[in-house]
């Protein structure tokens, strides 16, 4: 019998042969990206591959993502929904506003969203937060993984409009998308500084760690509005 340990609300460590990160499947029987389904006492868990998901890597790196079952999440850079699917599992009574601007990725995301009632897909540029102001409500968490040169600014502009005062910003920074040549460490410092000072709102960075060995040249950041 596989062993299940609760790591934080909605996030589990399931041990079957080896320890694996997992969430409770909101769409039983259905696999999203080749992950495994594990049944334990009538509950179906989906393994969460940290190499395929920056958020997954952040969880293993002990970022406190503090989601509850009814949390509202604004997810920027949803791609075809690999990670969105796990967020959807974690907030079964909540809502995930999944923003993605590439029609091609959106096709996959729509397939996912049509099976998961808490995922609301939006085909739009996350760099223009006003353009979805008629749709998105204030949220408890903004997760952003857009791999864009101006990602700190995108995060700040979205936070200023949509993040609740006591909400959190989780960010994956890809060094190469900001500067292809510079040393990643320098890039990270620069991005943290931008979050702390450059825009409105200004953030307090609570945690910042690189995502090795799961993702090379990526930094995870947890921040809140100062």
């Amino acid at each position: 019998m596989p062993e299940v340990k609760l790591l934080s609300d909605g996030i589990f460590e399931v041990t079957k042969d080896k320890k694996q990160l997992a969430t409770m499947n909101l769409d039983p029987g259905k696999v999203v990206y080749g992950e495994k389904l594990i049944q334990v006492e009538g509950v179906e868990y989906r393994t969460w591959d940290p190499r395929r998901s920056k958020l997954g890597a952040m969880v293993l790196k002990k970022f406190n993502i503090s989601l509850k079952e009814n949390s509202k999440v604004l997810y920027l850079g949803a791609a075809s929904g690999t990670t969105v699917s796990h967020v959807s599992d974690i907030v079964p009574e909540g809502a995930v506003y999944a923003v993605e601007f590439a029609p091609r990725s959106m096709r996959g995301l729509i397939g996912l969203a049509s099976r998961r009632k808490n995922v609301h897909p939006i085909l739009i540029d996350a760099g223009k937060p006003e353009s979805y102001a008629h749709i998105v409500e204030p949220v408890d968490l903004i997760f952003q993984d857009v791999a864009q040169p101006n990602q700190a600014e995108i995060a700040a502009r979205n936070a200023s409009r949509y993040l609740k005062r006591d909400g959190y910003l989780l960010l994956s920074i890809k060094a190469r998308s900001i500067d292809t040549v510079a040393n990643p460490k320098e890039v990270y410092k620069g991005e943290i500084k931008k979050l702390e000072q450059a825009f409105e709102p200004k953030f307090e960075v609570l945690n910042a760690k690189d995502l090795m060995p799961y993702h090379e040249d990526h930094l995870g950041i947890l921040a809140k509005i100062r």
């Binding site: 809502a95 029609p103 959106m106 096709r107 995301l109 729509i110 969203a113 049509s114 009632k117 808490n118 995922v119 609301h120 897909p121 939006i122 085909l123 739009i124 006003e130 353009s131 979805y132 102001a133 008629h134 749709i135 998105v136 409500e137 204030p138 200023s160 409009r161 949509y162 609740k164 292809t180 040549v181």
Partner: protein, 341 residues
């Protein structure tokens, strides 16, 4: 103040309380249409933008658009999924179709070359003296099969009579003929795809098509990702489009910036003497970039664009009649490229 939301237009007070409202009907198609219009029309949106932190769901409950939070999310969900579907289907625009055709053409060319070579080698065992290759060979095999079937009126008849090639057995003949027919139809597909690209370019990007030629124009759109992106690029980028490997090296290692994008296949450049190619490339890139902008924003055909370009190229030619004496700037002499058109 008045604000737009996905479910209606609200008048709200200073603390966000709803004072008046005009709700949309709960018809999904109607809601989808309104939501997309708000997303895409910046003016509409800016005029009545909800304030930061505005709680849409509470407002929707307050004004009675929905009875419960569950109803709010289920309706929102349906609208968002349908809106995204519609937008995705509309995103496959004419320039995206051209990009698919350009990529298909590359695949066809690669496959055709590969299969033609195979046919050449294979059939060479049966009729090495044919002197045919490519489409001509494929047509020949599809028509005759064995060289023994050539009629005496065919100019290849004498060579076929005296060939040292092996005898083609019936089973092999069926196989080779079928294979040759496939190759012939690939050549046909290639012409069809090229014609499609030419026609489409003429209709969606007439200026780019005129200045670059339809194929080069289509390739530029393909590498850029869309006509819109191409129109947004500075001309210095247009000049190096397609030189991505060299460009990457330039960025990583700070090597000299590449000069040879795909625009170097343009006749104005590839027929010019080497020492003015860089200059012509710059002038051409500027005009192509302008052409893409006109095509994207207005679509009117403007023949003067090409005339101006030709004048400019003449100027460059007359003011640089001879190769530079010393190797100045970093202008490394481009190596002669052989066997490539």
């Amino acid at each position: 103040m008045k604000i737009n939301t996905w479910f209606g237009v609200l008048g709200i007070g200073r603390t966000g309380e709803v004072l008046e409202f005009e709700l949309f009907s709960k018809d999904i198609r109607e809601l989808v249409r309104c939501s997309i219009a708000l997303q895409e029309n910046r003016q509409l949106l800016r005029q009545h933008l909800p304030p930061a932190g505005f709680d849409l769901k509470t407002a929707a409950l307050e004004c009675g658009f929905v009875e419960s939070s569950a109803e709010y999310y289920s309706l929102l969900h349906e609208v968002m999924v349908e809106a995204a579907k519609l937008q995705v289907s509309e995103a496959f625009t004419a320039d995206q179709r051209i990009i698919q055709a350009v990529e298909a053409l590359d695949d066809i060319n690669e496959t055709t070359n590969l299969l033609s070579e195979r046919l050449f080698e294979w059939y060479g065992n049966y009729f090495p003296e044919s002197g045919l290759s490519g489409e001509a060979l494929a047509l020949f095999i599809a028509k005759y099969g064995s060289r023994e079937n050539i009629g005496s009126e065919d100019p290849l008849y004498p060579r076929a009579r005296n060939s040292m090639g092996a005898k083609l057995e019936a089973a092999d003949e069926v196989l080779l003929k079928g294979f040759a027919e496939s190759v012939c139809s690939l050549y046909e597909r290639k012409r069809q795809t090229e014609a499609y690209i030419q026609d489409s370019m003429e209709s969606i990007a007439p200026n780019l098509s005129l200045a670059a030629g339809p194929m080069l124009g289509a390739r530029l759109i393909s590498v850029a990702g869309s006509l819109e992106k191409l129109a947004a690029f500075p001309s210095s980028t247009v000049q190096v489009i397609g030189a991505s490997k060299a460009l990457f090296k330039h960025l990583r290692a700070r090597a000299p910036s590449p000069k040879h994008g795909i625009i170097y296949s343009h006749p104005l450049i590839n027929t010019a003497p080497w020492w003015i190619r860089g200059k012509i490339a710059r002038a051409l890139a500027a005009k192509l970039s302008l052409a893409a902008r006109i095509d994207f924003y207005s679509g009117e055909k403007d023949a003067s664009l090409v005339e101006k370009l030709e004048v400019k190229v003449e100027q460059i030619k007359t003011s640089n009649p001879k190769p530079p004496q010393k190797k100045q700037d970093s202008g490394v002499k481009p190596k002669k490229r052989r066997g490539r058109k």
